[in-house]
Every structure is written in C-alpha cells, then in structure tokens.
Amino acid sequence: MFAYIVKRLISGFIVVVLISMGVFALYWFGPRNPAQPLCNIDTNNRCRPAMLKAYEHNMGFDDSVVHQYGLWAKGVFAGRTMELGATPYHCPAPCLGMDYRTKQPVWEELKVKFPATLSVAVGASVIFLVVGVSTGVLAARRRGTLVDKSLVTGTLIFSSIPFYLVALLAMLWFTISLGLFPDTGYYPLTQNPLKWFSGLLLPWLVLGIWQSTSYTRFSRGSMVESLNEDYIRTARAKGLRSRTVVFKHALRAAMVPVVTIFGLDFATLLAGTIFAERIFSIEGIGKWGLDAVTVKNLPVVSATVLVASVAVVVSNLLVDLVYSVLDPRVRLT
C-alpha cells in the first residue's frame, strides 16, 4: 500500500511537471508577446515598443526557453529574484512567479485563495453526496413508483437549468429579496467559524443541490443494478432486515461507480467554481483565475492550471485508494 502510494505520487509528480512545461510553453510561444500584458499594466496601456523591448529583456523572454524553464523550476524549489520590468522582486520558494498586477508572489496569493475554494468544494460535496446518494437510493428502492418517477423527472428538469441561472436566482431571492441568508463571501475558518459558515451556506446549498441531481440519477442506476445482484437475494435469504440488505450489501457495491464520478467532480471543484465564486463573491481560485485571464496576468493563470492538475492527480489517487477499501478484489500494485 505504502509503496503503491509512493509510486503514484511519483507518477503524479511527473504529470504535474509535464503540465507545468506545457503551460510554460504556452505563454512562451503563445500568439501574443508575453511581456505585453505586464507592460500594459505598468504603463496604463501606453506601452511603447522600446519599453516593451526592455521588459522582454528583463523578464528573460529573449533568452532560451529551456534556460528560462530551468530558472522557473529552480524558483519553485529554492526561490529566486526576478525582474518585472525594471524592478527586481524577491520571490521565495515555492516561487510560482509574481502577480503582474499586485507584484506579490503568486504563492502568497494562492495561499489565501485556495482555502476559500477548498471550503466551497468540501461543503458542496458533502451536500451533493448526501442528498444525491440518499435520493438515489430512495428512488432505486421504490423503483417504478410515483416517488421514483418524480425524483427522476424532477432531477432531470432541475439539472437542465444552467447553474449560473440557478445561482443568480437563489442569490436574488434568498439573500436580496427575502433576506433569508446573510451576505455571502469567504471568511477564514480559523478567524471566525460562524462567519465562515454563514457566508458559505448559500453557495454550498445551491452548488450542492444543483450538483446532487446527477448523483441522484447516477446512484439510482447503480443501486438498481446492485439490488438485482445475486448476492442481494442471498442476503435476503439469510433473513437480514431490508435496511441491512440495502445499506450494507447493496449500497457498498453501488458506491464504486459513484466514487469514480465524485473523484472527477471534486477535482473540478478544487480547480475553482468560477460561477459560484463570481456570483457569491467568494475570493477563490476560480474567480482569481478568471480575473487573471481577462488582463492576461500570466503567472496567475499558470498557477491556477497547476492547481487544477494537482487536484486531478490527487483526487484520482484518493479514488483509487477508496476503491481498494471498498472492493477487496482491487489490488494496488
């Protein structure tokens, strides 16, 4: 098990390195001069060609790409001093570059933004897993009945409404018109747990319930299948209570495919929920990344891509570990 985790972490590391190279290459060989955005920001869009030339030179864009990647990679582990335009900045390890706009190390900003996104992701996941799986199980147990049909139809209709519309309407009704929820936003858990909770409650509910619809249908299907398995008949023939049969025998088997989907969804959430963060004014990765894209704040964009790739690698590893716990036939080698 330990050897397996180490092996997976190493291969995950390689994946992240390859992605970092890809991102690096993108902004090196991209259609636009990479020094341009910074020059634009610094000069208020009055960047003259001579100045651009100087920026390019300072930032090393006239150097070889391999050498610059080497410098970047070294910065991640050892920190570096880098020049943005004319001014040198110290960027301590792990250095992911300097934010063009704030002139802060990207890592320092990431440390502030990521907990917000993580909070949204974890809270929403708890809700959509609990709501989605329990309604899915309910529908599967009552399959063919009115309960089942209305759950299936209801979730289908609800999930076909775009998320941003649901989120906007929820925001409009529940906080602005009805005042049922306090203003949304992210407050660090360690400073004020109550504010953290109340600020995130509506985003959690909206994201969780909207996302739960696909889990309802998914766990219903999976549960219907596992309830038809021979070992369920065996469990009933043993004289077990139907609750034991459903939750201990059928649900455990039905969870395997649900875990797969959850791993992917959770990684997506960790990479930032752009709509939710934007609409509920949460300063997380998604909003940060989106803002960075609009002004071509390249170091921030590449940092959010790296976060997403790490999230995918880690959650895939977690999914595989959960598999091995759920199903003894899965051998981790």
Binding site: E229, D230, Y231, R233, T234, A235, R236, A237, K238, G239, L240, R241, S242, T244, H249, R252, A253, L326, D327, P328, R329
Partner: protein
C-alpha cells in the same frame, strides 16, 4: 384454469407419521404482472417434502422451478407478484406472511443455496463476515462466537485450514470451495429445510459429485429436508427420493425417483431422458433433444402446454391435447406416481417407441425382468 388441484394419492407413506410433512405446497400459483401482460410463472403447483427426505424438481429454464422455491422463502417482491395457494413450512403459512415474520424464517428454518456461488456471495465481504452475519441475525451471540461458529461450519463442509481461510474473500476460493462456503452459510443455523437451486450447474463435473456427496452427508447429519432444483437428471438420480417434473409452470409428473427415471409416463419426461448423454453408449449414439422452444409464460398454449412439442399427441384421439389441459392422474404403476397426460397407454409407448431409441440395451434387460438395476442404468 380448468384444473389446479386434483385428488392426489397419499404421500405420507414412509413418514414418521407425526402429522403434516415439513413442507406442504398446495395449489401454489405465482404470477408477475408486466408491461407485456401477466407472466404465469407457476400454476396450481402442489407437493410435499418430509423431514430427512429429498425432492428433486426438474424442468428446463423458465419452467417455474426457481420461482416456486423462492416463494417458499417468501423472497418475491409482493408488490410485483400475485401469489395464491398455500405454502406451509412446519405448520406455518408462508403465503401472505408479514415480511417481519418471514425474516425470522429465512435462513433459520429454511435456507437456500444458489446456482453460481461467485455471484451469490458478496464480493466485498470476507466469507467469515458473511457466515457470521447469517448466524448473528438469528442468534443472540457475540461477534466472536459467531466467528467461531463460522470457522466450525467451514471446517464441517470440508474447507481446509478453515481457521485462516475464514478471512479470505469469495474470489480467493475455487468454484467448488465457494459452493462449500454457500452450503456452510445455508446450514449455519441448522435449518429444517434446505433449498438448493441448481447447486452444481456452475461447477465442473468432478466437483459436482463432491458437492452432491457433501449435501447427502450433511442431510444425514442434520436430518434436514432438501428440495433440489435442477435440469440435470444425473443429479436427480443421485439425490432425490421423489421427483417433480415441471413444465410451463405446472407439475407434469411426480413420483418416486426410480419410477420417474425408469418408467416415466409423460412425453416431456421422456424427452428429458432422451436428451441426457450416456457415457457408456456408443460414440455415434444419437442424442435426441426435445424439439421446439419452451412455451411463453405470458401466453401459454391451450390444452396441454407441451402439445406443440409433443411427438405423441397424434396417439390421442381427436384434438384433446390442444384443447383440454389434462388432469394430474394416477400413473399405471400406481402408488404415488402421478402424471399430466392424455395418453391412454404411456407405458407401452415408452417401452415400445421411446426406450429402444434412447437405450436399446436397457430394453433387453427390462424384458429379462431385472428391474432392480433400472435405476442405476438410467443414470
């Protein structure tokens, strides 16, 4: 429904004589409403099994043999099933019993073994967990005691190193060993009735014999009644005291095992016998399958359900076979042997037409009068 029950011979001969037999099924009818119509899975089925005896239920896929046995444990989803008639297990009426009371009977008084032990055991739980779960649900004991009981049962059914293997998962056992685990699980609460639904179908032949031997040995020790469901007449010959042949959800022939195998009176049973390969026969000997396909249970044929496939219906005057369902009537051998067929002289046809084709050597022996060896030969 022209007939469902008919007066049947007294079956209690050979019983201990203390009232009702252990399992009495009377006029059992099981139907499933579906989008396409009503599936008439079992119609008017009656049989009895006594303590310590074995009943073999034979028939092809879809003949209602599994459906009728699942009904004995009340395993059908009653919201989707129409059931009538009576099933009495040790005097208790199963049809219409509440789920709560059924749970106390399942696994405790009647247990079941299924066809494919790999899919019938939960892949995610160790066999020890699954066995002790079956014990814990009916006995007020600690987990430790239940585990000890699980080890004891695994040992009893012949699993080597039961003490260490108890923590293994089903996929770590071979097919035969898995079926032993199933048997251990079924017998862990010492049930009076064991229903074995094609217990050897998924196993290879050498293992089949071991499993059948094990079942017989355990039956002697536990004195339980066994209902063995199979389409393999070899299994019936080996195990069954009595045999019930089912076709299209009905009993078509019933009687003592040796009579059904040697002097059957229903063309469907003849067909079953004809389709059993005989190892001792010549290599080019013909295997005669029953022509046609099993009938649709949504819309079973009028009259005798077997008549569209029957080679002998022309020997019945008029169109009786296609218009009127034959009653279950006493066979010419007398005793408890009954059959559902219009043929007036089935024994003559069997000896004259059927037997020479499937076992020519047997005809000579029969004419020589060595009927004691018939049963052995019929295997």
């Amino acid at each position: 429904m022209t007939t469902t029950t008919s007066p049947r011979p007294d079956l209690s001969a050979g019983s201990a004589g203390n009232g009702d037999p252990l399992l009495v099924v009377e006029d059992l009818t099981v139907r499933f409403p579906t989008h396409d119509g009503l599936v008439q899975a079992v119609t008017g089925l009656s049989y009895q099994v006594e303590q310590g005896r074995t009943l073999g239920i034979v028939g092809e896929s879809g003949s209602g043999k599994s459906v009728s046995s699942m009904a004995v444990l009340g395993l059908h989803d009653m919201k989707r099933t129409q059931m009538s008639g009576s099933i009495r297990l040790d005097g208790k009426e199963i049809v219409g019993m509440s789920e709560h009371r059924l749970m106390k009977i399942r696994g405790k008084e009647a247990a079941m073994i299924f066809q494919d032990p790999l899919s019938a055991l939960h892949p995610f739980y160790s066999v020890g967990k699954q066995l002790s779960e079956a014990y814990l649900v009916h006995n007020d004991v600690s987990r430790k005691q239940a585990r000890a009981r699980a080890v004891e049962m695994l040992d009893r059914v012949g699993i080597p190193q039961a003490r260490t293997r108890v923590d293994d998962y089903p996929h770590q056992f071979s097919g035969g060993m898995r079926q032993r685990v199933m048997i251990a699980m079924a017998l862990i609460n010492d049930p009076k009735l064991l229903i074995a639904d094609e217990p050897t179908t998924a196993l290879d032949v050498t293992v089949q014999a071991q499993i059948l031997d094990l079942l017989q040995e355990l039956q002697r020790d536990f004195n339980s009644a066994i209902v063995i469901i199979t389409h393999d007449l070899g299994v019936v010959a080996e195990m069954a005291d009595d045999v019930l042949v089912m076709y299209a959800g009905r009993c078509v022939e019933y009687g003592p095992g040796n009579e059904i195998l040697t002097l059957p009176e229903m063309p469907y049973t003849w067909g079953l016998l004809s389709s059993v390969p005989d190892v001792s026969a010549a290599a080019d000997a013909r295997l005669i399958p029953i022509r046609g396909n099993p009938p649709s249970l949504l819309n079973p044929p009028k009259g005798c359900p077997f008549h569209p496939r029957c080679d002998h219906s022309d020997k019945v005057p008029g169109d009786l076979c296609s218009t009127q369902l034959p009653d279950l009537s006493a066979a010419s051998t007398g005793g408890v042997h009954i059959k559902r067929c219009h043929l007036a002289n089935p024994q003559e046809i069997f000896k004259g037409d059927v037997l020479p084709e499937i076992a020519p050597d047997l005809v000579e022996e029969l004419s020589a009068g060595t009927s004691d060896e018939d049963e052995a030969e019929a295997r």
